[in-house]
Amino acid sequence: MNNQELLSETEWKFDDTSKIPFWAYTNKGIYEKELKNIFYKKHWCYVGLEAEIPEPGDFKRTVIGERSVIMVRNEQGEIHVVENICAHRGMRFCRKKHGNAQSFVCPYHQWNYTLEGDLQGVPFRRGVKQDGQVKGGMPKDFKPKEHGLTQLKVAQRGGVVFASFDHDVESFEDFLGPEMLHYFDRMFNGRKLKVLGYNKQRIPGNWKLMMENIKDPYHPGLLHTWFVTFGLWRADNRSELKMDEHYRHAAMISTRGSGGKNEQTTNVSSFKEEMQLNDPRFLDVQPEEWWDGPTAVMMTVFPSVILQQQVNSVSTRHIQPNGNGSFDFVWTHFGYEDDTPELTERRLRQANLFGPAGFVSADDGEVIEFSQEGFEAKKDYQTLVELGGRDIEHTDHMVSETLIRGMYDYWRKQMGV
């Protein structure tokens, strides 16, 4: 079946986005269209942190959608993002995950590019000299300028780097919108970042499910029983759900109350009330000034990244789709250059809650895998997201799926479905 035929099976049969058809997760034509309309057009996608490439010539290979790109710092210290495809034979020439280079060279025929992606050398461009004659080589009208690497538009803010294949994309600030920008700037307030390391996992589910997971405040107290067991989750915690005006990005903002095990832990479930951690350092939180109130803010920047602050643990979580039914999820944990060693220790200890082995994250990957299993076998069925009503609105409690409804409202417009 070609994509056109596949797309013909995709009709949105509901009045609103309080139901989501399974084909949104299973259809290959839809997925191809997502790459084209969302990842490669009109959106800023996450590529990394400036702190990952501190020196001139430093580069990091990463991904936007399914396309391999290189984030690199040039001699002048500016950050550029180029696509990892040689202009000659299309090879993904850069194989190292990171490194330092003076120029990029494709090993196949040694086409040679500047760090900004301009073609600077083509072997035997003028041919070879043989018996007093020059033979072969590129045509006279070959212009190196026209055969550079694809250069992406770059946006930097607060030490975070985004890029877009679409040079007509709106400014990064307009893309986020004022409300989301406020929470972005809260976490990336100009202090230099310090990379603590990476965790990577391949999750066999549709990439949107991870966005939905972080737009779903209903599940933490129910799926992540670790939170409840140790008195960390209360349904009556102060919390807010906010979106940009297009409903594509969102922030779940929560403030842990002073209550804890001694008060009513949760009105969801309160089993194993006697449980105590053998080592409470997992949860030894040091409040930081920049929090300005909330103890956790989880931001989804559509479509490519989740920005996490959960007490002292801060990270970016990069979504790298590889097919409609699978994505790689890359966590970059960081701190700030002015952190004390003790605070760094706290960030590292609390990181045990997150990532592919995390006490309250490992289960997210699992449920996404089994949701996808459900979808694949019953393509004309649908999920239900009616919690908190069928409207899309800012909300001041956790028992709502409004952010998911919002994302699909936006998604439908981008996809024309």
Binding site: Q102, S103, T114, Q120, G121, R125, R126, V128
Partner: protein
């Protein structure tokens, strides 16, 4: 061959505005004839491992065939990326038909 003038070729071997590669006691040298004047440089490019004598002479510069880096033939100066290192030049002189190159 230290600090000595060594005969390396005959004038008739050279072509105006072009370059030839020769081997002097195992050392690859490029010889140029520009406006009737003879110049000599190392023949192996300071960037990749290509021979400049396979390259192209234009406006007093030699362009490496591999990555199109250009050196000033007279001074050996690297003129553009991807070159980062100048190329060594040698003094030349004529003894009748013979071309001499001075090695230090």
């Amino acid at each position: 061959m230290s600090n000595s003038w060594i005969p390396v070729a005959n004038q008739e071997d050279l072509i105006e505005d072009d370059v030839i590669g020769i081997n002097v006691n195992g050392h690859p040298v490029a010889l140029y004839l520009i406006d009737g004047e003879v110049f000599a440089t190392d023949n192996v490019c300071t960037h990749g491992q290509a021979l400049l004598s396979d390259g192209f002479v234009e406006d007093g510069e030699i362009e490496c065939p591999l990555h199109q880096g250009k050196f000033c033939i007279k001074s050996g100066k690297a003129m553009c990326a991807p070159l980062t290192e100048d190329i060594k030049t040698y003094e030349t002189s004529l003894d009748g038909e013979k071309i001499l190159v001075r090695f230090e």
